[in-house]
């Protein structure tokens, strides 16, 4: 069960990343006059035209929560840098 969940998480992340990147490339290309990615076909249409806009409309906190719950190294113990305060010497 756990293995299946990890496999699904990897698939979901890979598929999600691909569609979000494709949608982002179209936006950024329009901004800079670059080459626009081809229009999505088949199942890609759902991912690029439906999934990506819905993902971006979700509250950022919800997106962060979903990502945080995916299995991965980020759920292990990691120390993030804290910003020092006060003078250096």
């Amino acid at each position: 069960m756990a293995t299946a969940r990890r496999g699904f998480s990897r698939w979901l992340r890979a598929r999600s990343e691909q569609s979000l990147k494709q949608a982002a490339c179209a936006q950024i290309a329009a901004r800079y006059g670059g080459r626009v990615p081809p229009a999505p076909r088949g199942a890609d249409r759902f991912w690029v035209s439906v999934y990506a806009p819905v993902f971006h409309r979700l509250p950022r906190g919800l997106r962060t929560m979903v990502i945080a719950r995916m299995p991965g190294s980020h759920r292990q113990n990691w120390t993030y840098p804290s910003r020092p305060a006060g003078p250096a010497v």
Partner: protein, 444 residues
């Protein structure tokens, strides 16, 4: 009785781990298993030998084999580990039977993503990885007139440039709209692409690979844009963590496909550590785990894993991923987020763009430097950068990675001090110009 630390993999992570273990516990018995004929060389240098910038492959070796013997590191070359038994603390090793260990470090590296098209088993498909094979391929390149590079990954960019330097007619096929389309934006990639065209490259962006065709060896590459006749195809697809052995032993893999580790590079499995391209590490800004980093990351992770496996206490840290390379006639680089990646992830940002120069404007060989900075709205903390220029890109990427890590803001960068010396630095630092541009946009 000394503890035995077994390391699977003789790349940057494996050799870093061996050195880290020996430094932490000089009495430890450190054994490295590698499938290859060599260990401790720089595969990242291979494209530059092919491009003739580096005269021979020997220069890519970090140390002779005797150096590891003298250091007390037992490297078993051309030796395949076929099974890990974490409970029994043994490895099955081809030709050597069962080998016991007290601590294990998995540093099995990466595979290139399967192109997933017909003809992937043909000859003359070059996957740049092993130095001995690269030596053989280098001789093949003498007779290659036309080559196709598959995908504009970091290695793809280096190989396009190398093959052009070699005088080979080079096609680049990539399914995305521009080179490195996630790490870079089109305005950063454009000078590189233009320079490739000037050097004779034929670029096929927004073009899907459909098949490798030929009889025995590849003679053409079929794409969504038509067929390209060629003598060789260089497959530069994404780096995928090689976790087969570890997963078969029950080690856990995360959403990026790498082995799960904590900041000591320890896996959740007792007495097993992992490092390098087979693991995933959280990103310092997004906290999302990422995989497939650079050789310098792998080596540093190996050092930490080795030191800790031997009983030390060292920590690795979340990554900010500074990167840079020579591509075409330019250097490009950056850190963390491009506009494209931030947009994909739905991360808001403020943008600053600076166009500066690398030396005093009157000094010979002065080069342009374009810098884009992304800051977090509100705090204005730096969250990403990209650059393209003639020189000085690597140093700026390193500097900006530390700036992201330290939480430096665009306001601070706008007033940064900079070295002014005509041969090496201009009056106005392009990073400061970009930060000032961001502030002026905010102030309307």
């Amino acid at each position: 009785m000394p503890q035995r630390i077994a390391i699977i993999g003789g790349g940057a992570a494996g050799i870093g781990a061996a050195g880290g273990a020996k430094a932490s516990d000089p009495s430890a018995e450190v054994v490295v298993f590698t499938e290859y004929e060599d260990a401790a060389y720089s595969p990242c240098g291979i494209p530059y030998v092919h491009g003739k910038e580096i005269p021979d492959f020997q220069r890519l070796f970090l140390a002779p084999k005797e150096a590891y013997v003298e250091a007390g590191i037992d490297i078993r070359y051309e030796t395949r580990v076929t099974r890990i038994d974490p409970a029994g603390k043994t490895l099955d090793v081809e030709g050597q039977g069962e080998v016991a260990w007290d601590k294990l470090i998995v540093a099995t590296g990466f595979d290139y993503a399967d192109p997933g098209v017909p003809g992937s088993d043909l000859g003359n498909l070059y996957y740049v990885k092993n130095i001995r094979r690269a030596m053989e391929w280098d001789k093949v390149l003498d007779d290659v007139r036309t080559a196709v590079v598959v995908e504009a990954s970091p290695l793809g960019l280096e190989m396009v440039t190398a093959l052009l330097h070699r005088g080979i007619t080079t096609h680049l096929v990539d399914p995305t709209p521009w080179a490195l389309s996630v790490a870079t934006d089109p305005d950063i990639a454009k000078p590189v692409e233009d320079s490739w065209v000037e050097m004779g490259a034929q670029l096929h962006f927004n073009t899907r690979l459909e098949a490798f065709r030929g009889s025995g060896t590849v003679s053409s590459v079929s794409t969504s844009d038509g067929d390209i006749d060629c003598d060789l195809a260089v497959v530069c697809t994404a780096k995928v963590a090689n976790t087969r052995l570890a997963q078969a032993a029950g080690l856990k893999v995360g959403s990026a496909g790498g082995l799960i580790v904590d900041e000591t590079m320890k896996t959740p499995t007792a007495d097993v550590w992992a490092a390098g391209d087979c693991v995933e590490i959280p990103h310092g800004v997004s906290t999302v785990p990422v995989q497939g980093l650079s050789g310098s990351h792998a080596y540093a992770q190996g050092k930490v894993a080795g030191a800790n496996a031997a009983g030390g206490r060292r920590r690795y840290q979340p990554v900010y991923v500074p990167w840079g390379m020579v591509a075409g006639m330019w250097m490009i680089g950056g850190v963390s987020f491009s506009e494209t990646l931030a947009t994909a992830l739905g991360m808001p940002y403020v943008l600053g763009i600076g166009q500066g120069i690398s030396r005093a404007r009157y000094y010979p060989d002065v080069k342009p430097v374009r810098v884009k900075l992304l800051g977090e709205p509100g705090t204005l903390r730096l969250i990403g950068a990209q650059m393209v220029g003639g020189e000085g890109i690597k140093e700026r990427a390193d500097h900006l990675a530390m700036a992201v890590r330290a939480g430096i803001t665009l306001r601070e960068l706008a007033t940064m001090e900079n070295v002014y010396s005509p041969p090496i630095g201009a009056l106005n630092e392009p990073i400061a110009l970009a930060a000032q541009n961001a502030l002026s946009r905010l102030d309307g």
